[in-house]
């Protein structure tokens, strides 16, 4: 058994080396395929992170009347925070709002003068609500409107909800995000399927050139396992070598792209790559090994008639 394994391993390596041309061709195609897969992973990451950044910029603001009692504000805040669609709620008190106003108009004399003439804080408290998904703003806004209706029986505490004004841009953003996610998913699937099929075909062709040898081995009395072993091993070797090559090609590209993506997407792809190196390494090489192993196993099985 040990001898058989040793022989299979040796035959695999020798075959890999002596069929250098065929091995190179397979490795080259698989490298391209794995590179495409790797690049897709990064593009997907860029898209996701820029979409998250965009989503973070969207929120609904509820402006309270300056006279609104603190208990009601707190009650609404709690009710909103308890909604399942809400990611988080930021509360800005009257005093903080005033502070911020002062800060912003520090160099604007007219504004400062107007403020001091009023003599009291004219600003109301604000809460900023962020939903988990942009598509959920609609329902949050509906909830807020209902609250407003309910409280307006007495004197409404809510001065304004800016959802109606933001609605159009939120809707546009929602549909863009949905479209981009769908498109990138479809592109990814198509690319992945193409990469896998091309690699599979190349390995099949490589083994097709060895079909006569497989026939000879059978006639000499070699068992199927003994014939198949070296081919499977070669498939795995193609995957490992192609995976390493794909990572080596990706590396300088990411070094170059890193600072640029940081500028536009607020995500440095290179440091992302380094931070998640184990993940990328195992995924790319794992996919390579899987493609190589499965392709060669299927291809040899054909000529072994099993």
């Amino acid at each position: 058994m040990v001898t058989a394994i040793r022989r299979v391993v040796r035959a695999g390596f020798v075959g890999f080396w002596r069929n250098a041309y065929v091995s190179l061709a397979s490795i080259f195609v698989m490298t391209v395929a794995l590179f495409v897969i790797g690049a897709t992973m990064f593009i997907e990451q860029l898209l996701t992170s820029s979409l998250i950044k965009l989503q973070e910029k969207v929120d609904i603001n509820v402006y309270f009347e300056p006279t609104a009692p603190q208990e009601e504000i707190d009650a609404l805040r709690k009710a909103v925070a308890a909604l399942p669609d809400v990611a988080h709620v930021t509360y800005l008190s009257r005093e903080e709002a005033l502070e911020r106003y002062r800060e912003r108009y520090r160099n604007n004399e007219i504004a400062m003068q107007a403020l001091s003439e009023l003599g009291e804080n004219p600003l109301g408290a604000t809460i900023a609500i962020q939903a988990k998904e942009t598509s959920q703003y609609e329902s949050i806004a509906r909830f807020l409107e209902e609250e407003r209706e309910r409280t307006s029986a007495g004197a409404s505490v809510i001065d304004d909800i800016n959802y109606a004004r933001n609605k159009e841009s939120i809707d546009t953003l929602t549909s863009i995000i949905a479209a981009v996610e769908r498109a990138s998913f479809i592109t990814m699937v198509v690319l992945l399927v193409a990469a896998v099929l091309i690699s599979f075909n190349t390995i099949r062709l490589a083994i097709y050139t060895a079909r006569e040898e497989i026939g000879i081995m059978r006639l000499v009395g070699a068992s199927n396992t003994f014939i198949r072993g070296p081919f499977m091993l070669q498939g795995i070797m193609y995957g490992v070598v192609a995976g390493v090559l794909a990572l080596l090609v990706l590396y300088p590209i990411l070094v170059w792209l890193g600072p640029r993506t940081e500028l536009y997407f607020e995500l440095n792809l290179f440091s992302y790559f380094i931070d998640n190196f184990t993940y990328f390494f195992t995924t790319i090489i794992g996919v390579g090994v899987a493609i190589g192993f499965i392709s060669s196993t299927l291809a040899v099985a054909r000529y072994l008639r099993i």
Binding site: E212, I216, V220, I306
Partner: protein, 227 residues
């Protein structure tokens, strides 16, 4: 040792019968030549023995074993009892002469020591000690066929099946190959060979089975090439 019992083979197009009710037997240590025109069914006959092809009707026995009842998973073990030699040599192109012979032993599960001992012996028997590390494309036709014979005998099979072993060789190489086959037969291995070569048959003076259109038409104990 080999027994054909009323074997017929009809190919799937239904028209041509490659074998028609063939019955004969081969005793241990015999050297049998099978002659006949192209398409007479000689190669089909040999393929039956190594279970490469199945008869449509009838049975082929190897000793008491019905060859075509052997399960697929046991075929490799069965084939190891038979050494095969082909007109087109069928050497593994990416292996040296030595490795081609060693491969048959490795496939057989022989130990490294046995391989290191037997492969040089087999090479010596076919007089190719000096070409052990050449690849097939560096060898002449006669040399390739001698490597193939060395590979066929290295596992000490009970029988050698040779399909037109001299078909691609010049007269000198043909003579050498036939001498080697004779030597192997003298050492106790049964040989079944198909051939076109009248000179080879007349030289051998052993049993000759003549085939025509899938039938055995003559079977002479010490035959001449008659068609």
């Amino acid at each position: 040792m080999i027994y054909f019992d009323n074997v017929s083979k009809v190919y799937s197009d239904g028209r041509s019968a490659a074998l028609h009710e063939v019955t004969f037997q081969v005793a241990p240590r015999e050297f049998v030549s099978i002659v006949g025109h192209s398409g007479a069914g000689k190669t089909t006959l040999l393929k039956m023995i190594i279970a490469e092809d199945r008869p449509t009707d009838g049975r082929v026995y190897f000793e008491s074993l019905d060859v075509h009842k052997i399960p697929r998973s046991r075929l490799p073990q069965y084939r190891r009892k038979i050494g095969t030699v082909f007109q087109d040599f069928k050497l593994l192109p990416n292996k040296t002469a030595y490795e081609n012979i060693a491969f048959a032993m490795e496939a057989n599960g022989r130990s490294d020591d046995e391989i290191a001992e037997n492969v040089p012996q087999a090479l010596a028997l076919v007089d190719l000690d000096d070409k052990a590390w050449n690849f097939p494309n560096e060898l002449s036709g006669g040399e390739k066929q001698r490597v193939a014979i060395a590979r066929a005998i290295v596992n000490q099979p009970d029988i050698i099946v040779a399909d037109e072993p001299t078909g691609n060789l010049d007269p000198i190489a043909t003579y050498e190959v036939v001498q080697i086959l004779k030597k192997i037969n003298d050492l106790g291995t049964t040989v079944i060979m198909t051939t076109h070569n009248k000179g080879v048959i007349d030289e051998l003076g052993r049993r000759v089975i003549t085939m025509d259109e899938g039938r055995v038409v003559r079977d002479d104990e010490s035959g001449k090439y008659v068609l």
